[in-house]
């Protein structure tokens, strides 16, 4: 279906906490060093071998008035908010536009369920949930969005999008529409997911977890590693003041309509999402300089995505995926990897594919192994695909 183009929005600030560092500076250093940050899990015990992208530095405390929202997910979000002047940028937007004009859209897959699991352990032991368990402030998918809204004193639209691993890429889409339609002047987009037993053991039950550090797009890939992270982006209507900031041109979205947990084998839905991003953003395949792949390192996902790239691009640009560096941050992945792509645009490099030794034979395109510091991409697609065949592709352009 052909849809009218959408107005671009400016990305005026961004910050990220992940296994690859507590802020975008350390993330950039990790990306250029390209050494895996995946390590054995410390947060809780699991009955199988793997490595994870865990945030092991201390997390900040939630203020007493917002204690009902206290959970690992909210703390990760608060940590990202407090990095490198990001909070001041949101407060500038708040002062400029007014509290009712700044929205918060979260992308998450499991919200604060790590803390719910701890509450269930008490339920099993004591027969009741602990008194400090607040279902609607911890576990449901909007919880961390509401926390950020209250922490910042914002009063605009506030919701969570939860479409598994495409969640925060779709949050970017929703945020862009809120600005394009005049419902908001600025939107804080947050992709936040935290390590929990549910996802570790759930993906293990699907036999998708790799015991060693994962190797996206490698011929001998053995599965995924779960990560956690909080990625925050401030989107604003383009203006003379933010003319020097990169642009989110569009987010393409599609459904595979194929299977709940396996992608379409030929990547039809993935290709549709990328094509739609280009169409909505008014760009064509020949202009894309780099694709940040979803590349989870699961056998089927990588094959499907490789076929999608080959089917859409007559001459595919260089591609890479960063999950061997910081893990698959699930609902946060779309926002985390959009920030990786923004760093590539702003600092002039192509991220590598940590763990890649011999590319999957169906990757009929250049897979960037070691980071390429010579090329400066101007137009980037960043992919995020999730359960339910839920696909999103984020199109970003340099200022």
């Amino acid at each position: 279906m052909t849809m009218p183009p959408i107005s671009p929005v400016a990305v005026t600030a961004y910050q990220c906490v992940s296994a690859a560092g507590d802020d975008v500076e350390t993330l950039y250093a990790s990306l250029t060093a390209n050494r895996t940050c995946l390590k054995p899990l410390q947060l809780f015990d699991i009955p199988f071998e793997t490595v994870v992208g865990e945030v092991t530095s201390p997390l900040p405390e939630i203020r007493p008035s917002l204690k009902a929202y206290d959970c690992r997910n909210a703390r990760l979000a608060l940590k990202a908010l407090c990095q490198g002047g990001f909070r001041a940028d949101v407060e500038r937007a708040l002062a400029m536009h007014g509290k009712g004009r700044v929205g918060v859209i979260l992308g998450t897959s499991t919200s604060g369920i790590y803390d719910s699991e701890n509450a269930y352990a008490r339920l099993l032991q004591d027969g009741v949930m602990p008194g400090d368990f607040h279902f609607l402030q911890i576990q449901t998918a909007q919880a961390t969005a509401e926390f950020l809204q209250r922490e910042l004193g914002l009063q605009g639209p506030c919701y969570g999008i939860s479409t598994a691993c495409s969640s925060s890429a779709k949050a970017l889409a929703a945020a862009q529409r809120l600005i394009a339609t005049g419902c908001c002047d600025a939107v804080l987009v947050a992709g936040v997911d935290s390590l929990c037993r549910l996802t570790l053991r759930g993906f293990n039950s699907l036999q998708l977890i790799s015991p060693q550090a994962c190797r996206p797009m490698d011929a001998e890939r053995q599965g995924i590693n779960i990560g956690e992270g909080a990625a925050l982006l401030l989107l604003e209507r383009p203006s003379a003041e933010n003319a020097g900031r990169p642009r989110l041109l569009a987010v393409g979205e599609s459904s595979d309509a194929h299977h709940m947990s396996a992608p379409h084998p030929d990547g039809v839905g993935a290709a549709t999402a990328m094509a739609q991003a280009l169409q909505l953003g008014g760009r064509d395949v020949g202009q894309v300089d780099y694709i940040n792949l979803h590349a989870t390192a699961s056998t089927l996902n990588d094959l499907s995505e490789a076929r999608a790239v080959v089917s859409l691009f007559p001459n595919p640009p260089p591609c890479s995926g960063v999950k061997g560096l910081l893990g698959h941050t699930l609902g946060a992945a779309g926002a985390v990897e959009t920030i990786v792509s923004l760093l590539a645009l702003e600092r002039g490099f192509l991220p590598g594919t940590c763990g890649l030794m011999r590319p999957e034979p169906e990757c009929l395109f250049p897979v960037v192994g070691a980071p390429n510091m010579e090329l400066s991409p101007r137009l980037i697609l960043s992919n995020a695909f999730g359960f339910g065949g839920n696909n999103a592709s984020v199109l970003l352009e340099a200022a």
């Binding site: 009741v128 279902f135 969570g160 479409t163 419902c183 549910l198 065949g389």
Partner: protein, 249 residues
């Protein structure tokens, strides 16, 4: 975009007594709306969502295969998630792979796209007590940017009682087929969701406090009883969100 047009709607309420109290037509779960292969493992959330979505598409005379969709739910697949969390904390707990992938918030959205062979975008959102209001805002933005028509499905199955004591019932779903602008054949036209202090009808407030997705009741009531033009509260709390409802064409 000046307004969005309601082309059809459907409501599903499995509790007969609650259903009878509603000021608009509602139905019990219709398992025939779920393909046989999916039916056995389908959650109450999915049954609610499919039942209402199928009824809305039928009333609007639209093929579900062509409509982008937005699925909104406060708690999503909470019964499946509860089962998994209970197993996770047992020493010998068993995690079923299908239960895991059926615990995501977009389970109903994903199966709907598969069942209808619909490759249009599908979203799944949650906004606590403002879930219905934010769902209307999301569909407003999609229609405003993209034009065309879409399907909105709002649903919540019963929540396990210990998660939020006194809340999380009765189960309910409603689905709306909406078009951008003033479309021919519309039942009503709905304005842009806006913050405001329109009062939520006191008669429904306790139920909407228990089950926030029931914030849809005043809008569906307005549509069904022909009480328009009016400003309708779509949040259970004031100040919250509201929409203008005017006659269709």
């Amino acid at each position: 975009m000046e307004c969005m047009s309601l082309l059809g709607f459907g409501a599903c309420a499995p509790d007969a007594e609650f259903r009878a109290s509603l000021p608009f037509p509602a139905f019990d779960i219709n398992r025939e709306t779920i393909p046989p292969l999916l039916r056995r493992r389908s959650s109450q959330a999915m049954q609610l969502a499919f039942s209402s979505a199928a009824a809305a598409c039928e009333q609007a005379r639209r093929s579900p295969a062509t409509l982008p969709s937005v699925f909104a739910s406060v708690a999503g697949e909470i019964q499946t998630t509860d089962l998994l969390c209970s197993e996770l904390v047992k020493p010998e707990g068993v995690i079923s792979p299908s239960a895991f992938h059926n615990s995501v918030q977009n389970t109903a959205a994903g199966y709907w796209s598969i069942a209808q062979q619909c490759t249009q975008p599908a979203s799944a959102l949650a906004a606590g007590v403002d879930t219905f209001a934010m769902a209307l805002l999301e569909v407003w933005c999609q229609l405003s940017c993209q034009g065309g028509e879409l399907l909105l499905v709002c649903y919540d199955e019963i929540w396990p009682a210990y998660l939020a004591p006194g809340r999380g019932r009765p189960a309910f779903a409603c689905a709306l087929v909406l078009a951008a602008g003033a479309a021919e054949g519309s039942i009503v036209q709905i304005g842009r969701p806006q913050p405001g202090d329109a009062a939520f009808p006191p008669v429904w407030a306790p139920l909407a406090d228990s089950m926030p997705i029931l914030a849809a009741i005043p809008l569906l009531s307005s549509v069904s009883t022909g009480e328009w033009p009016q400003v309708v509260a779509v949040s259970p709390l004031a100040p919250g969100w509201q929409v203008d409802v005017v006659s269709g064409k």
